[in-house]
């Protein structure tokens, strides 16, 4: 019986050899793949071994870390909660980050090439310094005012957004989206709790997880008249040019009326007066007179139809994705201009859709002599030791209009705030210009209230803003937006918030 016993021993040897070979396959050949596999939560543990960089603005930490005594050593915390959540996003334990947490993830986690030197030196010193810090261009004062005024608005509106930009640099001064959310439960190390918190927000009908400032595209209403005005000024019109108006205008099945009887009832009105009073019939006729192509081209020159804009880091190009604003087709099925649609589109209705950021960019362009600066939010990148690695260099995004046209537009918009529909945006000591918008959106629904505008301190533009409130009840929807816009610009200009 000994020969088969020996052979059995060989069989066992072969089986163990197979086990050994397979262990080599799993623990050596496939080791790297398994170590970094998506299903391997040890990757997460390693990620939390070192502190993630801080996100800050104006010396205030907006996203920071708390040491824990659980497996993941650092807990991400957002001390300002809802105020900055739509901008910062959040970095959850499971799943992808959002907002600046996502677009600056490499730098914050320390994996960025910009931090190569730090990683190299940590290999010798042994202590891991963690990720780099991101300094945002936001003005904490403007942001707080914007948040406070938006959430405590006098009309009880629950949805809306506000953006403020420095017109001469493109730096975002404030960005608020309402309703917002508390990001802290979403980054809980208890992943089940985090998933529950996320589900609750994701199921919320008001979409608190959406950043309305960059993501909501809504009919802009009369704010769009700034575009039509720019188109007219570029095509030979002067601010003093008389345009046709009247109380009613019928075009291709569409009937255009003014918001109130006393608005431009006469047959002629100057362009400046038409904008000041927000004369619907005048602008509808003006749009039809200019033609769809000119209106659409001007809108595009100001940034409509831009599918690629991101607002964040000028250096890497990463940032919050900005939804494209649209003018719509304005065409019949045979390709000819649908004049009824053109008349309505000239008033920012029909298929015209705009993001609040686009509104702020338009106001900023006018304030910056016709040059549109690329919007950004990442002002500085600091190493783990807080040495400056990068400082934003403002760059031009596009030149929609000449400085002459911009100057005329500025003149007209200042008239809106001084004599027309936007008077509630006035700020003591600053020259403020702007344009209101009240946009019909759905049958029976309250209109959206818009205001875009800018403020000059002497000759220097200090802030451009857009405020959007969804479904404002009680009439004069844009007046509340104008009031809030004024307060935000005042704070951004450093003229005291409250």
């Amino acid at each position: 019986m000994n020969a088969p016993l020996r052979r059995s021993g060989v069989v066992i040897l072969v089986l163990f050899g197979l086990l050994f070979a397979n262990l080599n396959w799993v623990q050596f050949y496939k080791a790297d793949e398994y170590r970094t596999h998506d299903y391997n939560s040890r990757v997460t543990v390693a990620e939390y071994e070192t502190p993630r960089g801080v996100i800050e603005a104006g010396g205030t930490a907006l996203a920071q870390n708390k040491t824990t005594d659980d497996e993941l050593k650092y807990l991400r915390t957002y001390p300002e909660g809802k105020i900055y959540a739509p901008v910062l996003g959040y970095k959850p334990v499971i799943g992808g980050a959002t907002g600046i947490e996502s677009s600056e993830n490499d730098f914050l986690s320390g994996a960025s090439d910009k931090l190569f030197g730090d990683r190299l030196s940590s290999m010798f010193t042994g202590d891991n310094p963690g990720g780099g810090n991101v300094v945002l261009s936001l003005s904490t004062k403007a942001q707080e005012v914007a948040w406070k005024q938006m959430t405590n608005n006098q009309r009880g509106v629950t949805k809306g957004a506000a953006v403020a930009i420095d017109p001469s640099t493109g730096a975002i001064q404030a960005m608020v989206s309402m309703p917002s959310y508390d990001p802290n439960p979403l980054v809980s190390h208890d992943t089940e709790e985090a998933a529950k918190a996320y589900q609750k927000l994701a199921n919320d009908e008001d979409d608190p997880l959406i950043n309305r400032a960059t993501g909501a595209t809504l009919p802009p209403g009369s704010v769009f008249k700034v575009i039509v005005s720019a188109a007219a000024l570029q095509n030979g019109y002067k601010t003093s040019s008389e345009i046709e108006a009247g109380s009613v205008y019928k075009e291709g099945g569409a009937t255009i009326r003014n918001s109130e009887e006393e608005v431009c009832p006469g047959s002629q009105v100057t362009l400046k007066e038409a904008l000041t009073e927000s004369c619907n019939t005048g602008y509808a006729r003006l749009g039809v007179a200019l033609g769809a192509d000119k209106v659409k081209d001007t809108a595009k020159a100001f940034g409509f139809e831009d599918d690629t804009l991101k607002v964040g880091d000028l250096d890497s190009g990463a940032g919050l994705t900005v939804a494209a604003s649209r003018t719509g087709d304005i065409q019949n099925q045979d390709g000819s201009t649908d004049t009824a649609a053109l008349a309505q589109s000239s008033l920012g209705q029909r298929d015209v859709r705009m993001t609040p950021l686009q509104g702020a960019l338009m106001a900023a362009t006018v304030a910056n002599s016709g040059q549109q600066m690329r919007p950004y939010m990442v002002q500085k990148l600091l190493g783990p030791d807080r040495r400056t690695i990068y400082t934003a260099k403002p760059e031009s995004l596009r030149d929609p209009v000449s400085s002459t046209v911009a100057s005329d537009l500025k003149d007209m918009m200042v008239s809106v705030v001084e004599n027309g529909t936007g008077t509630r945006a006035q700020i003591n000591g600053l020259t403020v210009g702007g344009k209101t918008g009240t946009a019909q959106n759905a049958e029976g629904a309250n209109p959206h209230g818009w205001f875009i505008g800018f403020a000059f301190d002497g000759d220097k533009p200090v802030s451009a803003v857009c405020v959007m409130l969804e479904n404002v009840s009680g009439g004069h929807a844009s007046a509340e937006a104008a009031r809030i816009a004024g307060l935000i610009m005042k704070a951004a200009a450093g003229r005291g918030g409250d």
Partner: protein, 485 residues
């Protein structure tokens, strides 16, 4: 010691030395765990290792008196694996207590503490076996009883309702509340003894070749009866206990004892063809008919592509465990994270089926290879005892037990490393659980007993011609009678 003839080496001191070496590894393992978990090695860290060491020392003393010629490598090799198992389970308890901010579990609390208690119980059983069964041939007297007990033990979980016997899709358990036993672990001991006895009686009949076909000797049709019976039994196990590994284990152990007894390779070929044919048939039936075969088909599918999203996220029988085990092993890499420094808690069932994957993350490929070598040593030393022992029954029992142990290690380790479909076997001496530990220690005690007989100076051949007082002359006579039909 008086019965040890002068001039014969018992190798007991070598065993003691190896045991001390094994225990020092266990102690270093425990200390490293503490260093990684608490950032300090406390004065109390040596207590669990010392307790384990005292237990094994106790068995060593029993072996010294009851089986003085036993193989000196078996006990230290098993002790090392058992000790590392206890240490690793205690390490999991410590990590859990730290995570839950609970006080550190006592020496006999938690899974590690229970395993320590089970080790004590197992060693007492092993010592009793060594003390009571002074000659392994005595076992053959109870062969039919053991055979019946074995089959009953195998069948119990299959006939019990799933609520009592099913864990993770395999029906291998009997559960009473929080307490559960795996009767199959004991069944293999009983079945090996029965097979050995049966085959010693039948070997001459079975080795009669009646026909040659394609160059191999095929047995006569009526002699195929028993092997077909056991084949059907193991396929029933596969279908009703839903476990390929257990089926492979029983069938493999029968075919190998058959092969060793008859020295006919044809049995091996028939066995392998029948088994793999049956498995493939079960797979095909699972794909088309489903029903009792579905579980096996699912396991095979999951095994073929564990990382596929569909397999990973399926509601029942998902590849989650397998994948997490593989990721643990891969994260460990060549050298491992170090005892106490990995995250074995991420691997499901890390205390039982997946303990090897959990260990692999911390001790790496090198550590696991060392463990594999320990298992290999135990199996090969068992086979060596079978080679050296003089009686056929002893050869078959030792060979069968050693081979079964090796096969079980292959089935579970192959399962968790993705080499073969995963089955619910315990890892001998490592996994938490009393049944497995006790059964395998009994197995080792039997191997110690047989290796003692193998290395003992035979009557009339050693330097001391008087020989042991209790020369089993009478039993030899009985065996001879048994062999001749």
């Amino acid at each position: 010691m008086s019965r040890i003839p002068t001039g014969w080496k018992t190798r007991r001191n070598a065993e003691l030395g190896l045991l001390a070496f094994a225990m020092s590894i266990v102690a270093v393992f425990g200390a490293t765990v503490e260093a990684n978990q608490f950032d300090e090695i406390r004065m109390t860290s040596w207590i669990p290792a010392a307790l384990v060491g005292i237990l094994f020392l106790g068995l060593h003393v029993v072996v010294r008196f009851t089986a003085p010629f036993a193989d000196p490598v078996l006990l230290p090799a098993v002790a090392l694996i058992n000790g590392i198992g206890v240490g690793f389970l205690r390490r999991l308890d410590l990590a859990k207590a730290i995570a839950n901010k609970q006080p550190e579990p006592g020496i006999f609390a938690g899974t590690g503490g229970r395993q320590l208690a089970w080790t004590l119980a197992s060693l007492i059983l092993a010592a009793i076996l060594l003390l009571v069964i002074r000659d392994h041939k005595i076992v053959s007297r109870y062969a039919y009883t053991l055979g019946l007990v074995g089959i009953v033990l195998v069948m119990i979980p299959a006939v019990l309702p799933s609520s009592i016997s099913e864990v993770n899709g395999a029906k291998l358990w009997i559960r009473f509340g929080s307490f559960s036993i795996q009767p199959g672990e004991f069944a293999k001991l009983a079945l090996v003894s029965f097979f050995a006895y049966y085959l010693v009686r039948k070997r001459e009949v079975l080795s009669l070749a009646s026909r040659r076909f394609l160059g191999i000797d095929l047995p006569r049709g009526r002699d195929l009866g028993p092997v077909v019976t056991v084949w059907l039994l193991s396929l029933l196990v596969l279908v009703f206990e839903k476990d390929l590994g257990t089926a492979l284990l029983y069938f493999g152990l029968f075919v190998v004892t058959l092969y060793v007894a008859t020295e006919r390779a044809s049995w091996l070929i028939i066995g392998l063809v029948l088994f793999f044919g049956g498995v493939y048939l079960a797979y095909l039936l699972g794909a088309s008919v489903g029903g009792p075969f579905a579980n096996f088909y699912d396991r095979a599918e999951v095994w073929l592509d564990p990382f596929a999203r569909a397999n990973y996220e399926r509601v029942s029988g998902s590849s989650y465990q397998l994948v997490q085990g593989l990721l643990g092993l891969g994260s460990g890499g060549l050298f491992g994270a170090g005892p106490g420094a990995g995250s074995p808690g991420k691997v499901p069932e890390v205390r039982t089926d997946f303990i090897f994957a959990g260990l692999g993350e911390e001790i790496g490929l090198f550590g696991l290879t060392a463990l594999l070598v320990c298992y290999l040593l135990i199996v090969e030393r068992g086979l060596r005892a079978a080679l050296a022992v003089r009686d056929s029954f002893g050869k078959l029992v030792a060979g069968g037990l050693a081979f079964t142990l090796g096969l079980q290690v292959f089935v579970i380790l192959g399962g968790i490393t993705g080499l073969i479909p995963l089955t619910g076997q315990t890892t001998p001496f490592l996994s938490a659980g009393g049944s497995s530990l006790m059964a395998n220690w009994l197995l080792v005690a039997m191997l110690l007993r047989i290796s003692d007989a193998a290395r003992q100076p035979a009557t009339g051949t050693g330097p001391d011609r008087a020989g042991p007082k209790k020369a089993p002359v009478q039993l030899h006579g009985a065996m001879t009678e048994v062999i001749k039909p």
